[in-house]
Symmetry: C2
Subunit: 348 residues, 2 copies
């Protein structure tokens, strides 16, 4: 247990600062006595870029690297803004952080608990985690364009998958599965079509499985997996999958488990070589920004993942318990961002 | 209107022959008087491969090319069968046909009609089509492996997207959108991450949109699209998307609109240069094969798409109407494959 938590905060754009304000207050309230919280705010995001022309320079990356962890709200501006075209904030800021700090485990839990309403008529007992690979696959940015902007344009995207990269995330997923009551791991891929990557993923899962005889495994094609997400999501325990499939499946998972307002994530480097980064799955939602309407729950649950990661599992459990109590007591009366945050803190 | 329909039939594996048997009978019953149906059966599939070692040779491809259209049941064997590893049937047969016959429009409609039950509590009025690109993207099979099977393996998958290929499918999607009451087209991609392909897709949509001023358009990231599929699927009219995103979204669409037992598809070459191919979205389902349990409705609805394509829109409409009447009258008593087929034929 550290007696000091040195946290970098990137509140970001839109509703980012609103939800992070509440999340940091929850963090302060939940930290064990004697642990000092030191926070440093970084201004990055679409707004900062439009003002200064800076997305994320190398010296800031070095400064960020010195913190114990990073808490991020949401980054991204108006999708129609031409100046933000080509994923300049997504690739240049969010993915740059995930890649620079080698966040190979993108951890995204989903659970339906009392008070959480699902668009599914009969979801059953949903409680699973997705371990999404975070540093490879189609996200590497190794594509290119030939004859750009012409009728003869060719645009390529390369998905890169290494045994090194797949093995470390698969081992992490098995470790998490072994620690859960059901001890089941599902590999999701599209190995009947993406045969090069698929054969690698399946081979690695089969190999690592021998180290975890207590964990049962199965395999689903990504298309079939989406069917089970809506017909029988309770079947899942731990899902391990590639960066892009994980992106798609975790938004779907969030949607069936109470919406994107509740979905937390951790971009984790389990080696500790770099700070891990915790963020709600939702975006900056420019349409509702500044109205104190955003639900800070996803940011608060991201704080729980952060606490767990930095060695305060009991504090993490208290945050999760407070959120669950708040969810169970939630009526239908709309509450402001601050009211939700305060209600959660009162239950800590 | 042709007075002869020369159809190739690949009944395939598992439940394929069972559902195709019913579908062909519906086709015979629905064809306008005076149109002669000539069918030729081809034995391809996992079973044929395991018996003969042949997946699909060039002379069969040439023979298939001579037909007016192809009706396919389902191909694929036991996923655990080592001899079928590496997508040998999927890539070597199904995708080979789609690529050889340049099926650039993979058409997949979804609708919730009376009698169709959805896993969603409140799906609303769902009636949309997905126009999935069928000849490019991550399906091209241009990946490769370095140091295969070693701890230093690198497995690559290349997604190839051409202005030529994107433009023709986007124009087809706009044409379909313009013919529908709502006249709305949604591009689904992941242009904030897959920026090379994404910029191309968005540019082409913007360009072709100028030819269809009556069609409104919007854009969704694929992850966000899955959220709307479960929270507000009624918002969609026509979706145009890449080969892989289309694969994922259409299984999800099938799941929310009554299940994979009802989902039809057409692999269409709108130029007529090659025969188009119609198939249910479902697979060969070896677990229920031979038990007369499979629902032939998806195969029957694929016949409706076929009739539409070969110039018999009224016969197509009759088949759809018969299916909808049957769905509306369906109770909860299980019926055999043959009973469902007969019930649909009676309503023609
Ligand atoms: C904003 C985008 C780059 C990001 C991703 O694709 O990973 C987001 O969708 C997420 O899931 O965190
Ligand atoms: C079997 C497989 C190759 C195929 C695909 O990925 O296209 C299937 O999932 C489909 O959607 O028709």
């Amino acid at each position: 247990m550290t007696d000091r938590l040195d946290l970098a905060i990137i509140a970001g754009d839109g509703i980012g600062p609103e939800v992070i304000g509440e999340a940091v207050q929850v963090l302060e309230a939940a930290l064990p006595d004697g642990v000092e919280l030191v926070t440093t705010e970084y201004p990055f995001g679409a707004g900062h870029y439009l003002e200064t022309g800076e997305v994320l320079d190398d010296s800031s990356l070095e400064a960020l690297a010195k913190h114990d962890a990073i808490l991020l709200g949401a980054v991204g501006g108006d999708p129609a803004d031409e100046r933000l075209k080509g994923g300049i904030i997504e690739r240049g800021l969010l993915l740059k952080l995930r890649f620079a700090f080698d966040h190979f485990v993108n951890l995204r839990p989903s659970a339906i608990v009392p008070g959480v309403s699902s668009p599914l008529a009969d979801p059953g007992e949903v409680d699973f985690i997705v371990v999404r690979e975070g540093t490879e696959g189609p996200y590497v940015g190794n594509g290119g364009v030939v004859r750009a902007g012409t009728p003869a344009e060719i645009a390529n995207e390369l998905s890169v998958n290494t045994a090194f990269g797949v093995e470390r995330v698969v081992r992490d997923a098995f470790t998490r599965a072994a620690a859960r009551p059901r001890k089941h791991l599902t590999l999701v891929h599209k190995k009947n079509v993406l045969v090069n990557a698929g054969v690698l993923w399946q081979r690695v899962v089969d190999e690592v499985a021998t180290e975890f005889p207590e964990v049962t495994t199965d395999y689903l094609h990504v298309d079939a997996a989406t069917i089970f997400f809506v017909t029988d999501p309770a079947r899942f325990d731990v899902i391990v999958t590639d960066n892009l499939f994980g992106d798609i499946l975790t938004d779907l998972a969030a949607a069936i488990a109470g919406g994107i307002g509740l979905a937390a994530s951790g971009n984790i480097n389990p080696t500790g070589a770099y700070p891990s980064m915790f963020e709600p799955v939702h975006g900056s939602a420019p349409d509702i920004a500044g109205q104190a309407k955003a639900d800070p729950t996803a940011a608060v649950l991201s704080v729980a993942l952060l606490l767990e990661h930095v060695g305060h599992p009991e504090a993490a459990a208290r945050v999760v318990a407070a959120v669950r109590e708040d969810l169970a007591a939630r009526g239908t009366t709309p509450r402001s961002t601050g009211e939700v945050g305060a209600a959660i803190r009162e239950r800590l």
